[in-house]
Symmetry: D2
Subunit: 178 residues, 4 copies
């Protein structure tokens, strides 16, 4: 299975990345670090006369194309303020534009994808991270992707995720299946 990880974090080698890399150890994976790209916030022009014109001179569309080439997409994000990072949210918000763009057939292509979420947070992520999981579920339902599962890990300071044995067990199990 062809795998892509989309990283929403803003720190090098952060807890989320450590955990996600465990889940794909030894596998051939394409990685996208959203922090390294320019992705403008959506400008909601769905209902304006001109619609969403191709005026955004940024990296969004090229990332969309790279996603479309894979079978499984792993969304790996630190839990900032009880949901995905703002840079990941801006990326997803832009899908409203991509969906309207006939060049991508975005919903059609995404409906065959498997998706997975890995999130690490410091404040009771196993409970307070659940609204984020519910949001991802709605997102994946909307685009027709199959939500295969998620791992929530606990970590705040760098490397703290190593203490979350359950999260690593689940990541190892995931790695065996991929």
């Amino acid at each position: 299975m062809s795998i892509m990880i989309i990283y929403g974090g803003t720190r090098e080698n952060g807890n989320t990345e450590i955990l996600a890399e465990r889940a794909v150890e030894g596998l051939d994976v394409e990685r996208i670090y959203l922090k390294d790209y320019k992705i403008l916030p959506i400008e909601d022009l769905r209902h304006s006369e001109e619609g969403f014109l191709e005026k955004n001179d940024d990296d969004h569309n090229s990332i969309v194309k790279r996603i479309q080439a894979h079978e499984m997409i792993i969304f790996a994000t630190p839990i900032y303020w009880y949901s995905m990072s703002g840079i990941m949210k801006n990326f997803i918000d832009r899908w409203s534009q991509t969906i309207k763009d006939p060049r991508y057939e975005f919903k059609h292509s995404m409906s065959s994808k498997k998706t997975f979420v890995i999130g690490v947070g410091g404040d009771e992520p196993f409970v307070k991270g659940l609204p984020m999981i519910q949001q991802f579920k709605y997102i994946f339902d909307f685009i027709g992707a199959s939500f295969e599962g998620y791992i929530l890990g606990k970590g705040n300071k760098p490397g703290e995720i190593y203490h979350d044995e359950a999260a690593f067990e689940l990541a190892s199990l995931m790695q065996k299946r991929l």
Copy 2:
């Protein structure tokens, strides 16, 4: 009561704004349209040696100061992909930096605020908008603010919110109390 509305939308005179303006009709309110400001995504340096330096040359801090001058803060956001807009999320993500900055005493100042959420979405917002409400609850609990309530409205196309009679009733009731 001194009131501020923070708008997370990207459309002029969108459904969220129509509903929120009903809730504050005739009142003296300061408005912030996040789309008109430059707010960089957080760079997570909480645990680096230098910490969060004052290197972000953007509008975040000035908005924080304006918020601190008010008693009630209304977060008004379209529901994009089942949560607040990415630009509002980026703004809130940056609070992790503000909290560490002794010039703002952010948590102390926010602990006396009343907060309110107004969100408008097109896809079953009364159910699929609930994780966003739970998320705001956790956010307000963390900073110690008092979450006074929320209004979820239904609307997709421009002006569609006018058909949501219940949302307007609740906005009118809110206006009487403010």
Copy 3:
């Protein structure tokens, strides 16, 4: 529209009933007070050889028949420990049996119903009552019923619901539409 209210409360004239009765004032409504009936907990025999035999000598089936005669079903329950009352839960649990019983064609008949939830609780019901709403959504989705909306009210001591002006506004609005 033919309306039934199913009451899950255990107190006469409780807060939930006061609010629900406001929503149907002047309308012709059939009321079921679950506390006045004998409804045994489900015995999970879905996978035993004999299946669910008609051995439960209680009122469950007669209530099911009465529900099937109406177009809108309002589930009105006090929020006990952040969810519907145990007696209402036992009633719904038994649907697993009803669904298997060919005499009722339960899923088929319920798929044309409109449903509504009214819940009153004392501990931040507008936030802590939301998981209950999400559960009802899943329940109604499963049986194919159309979840038309809900009202959450705040009240603990008898009559306290009268102070929840917003809940009454929504109940009045609902009454006009029914």
Copy 4:
């Protein structure tokens, strides 16, 4: 650590029990099968003059006493209709009465307990079981108990839980820690 499991299921040797027994394999555990006891639904008399009199001639109070003797309480319930079983809910509903009964000092005694939830369901339990987890969190917060974690497993037909490798991994890990 002294451990009690409270079973909310209605089937002998069901999926929930199989998973929970894995988590306590080889440990000294007291088990309560709620289905084997008589527990009346709560009658809400919190605000009546006589209050909750000791008129319930059932097994509730004796179970409460047994719980109080342990340090960790595991709530193991099949997920019926997206929440705990009605018989477990009736048991918890009665806590409103126990809290008012000075013989038990219920909140005080529960505030030193560790709690854990094990739930098994057939319909996307990893997502649709989350509102139940959020409810348990609110319940445990209310009584002051420490919510140590939860395992959600997938299973419908008898024994189907054996296919949920991740749930068993987590149960094994829990067993090592207990």
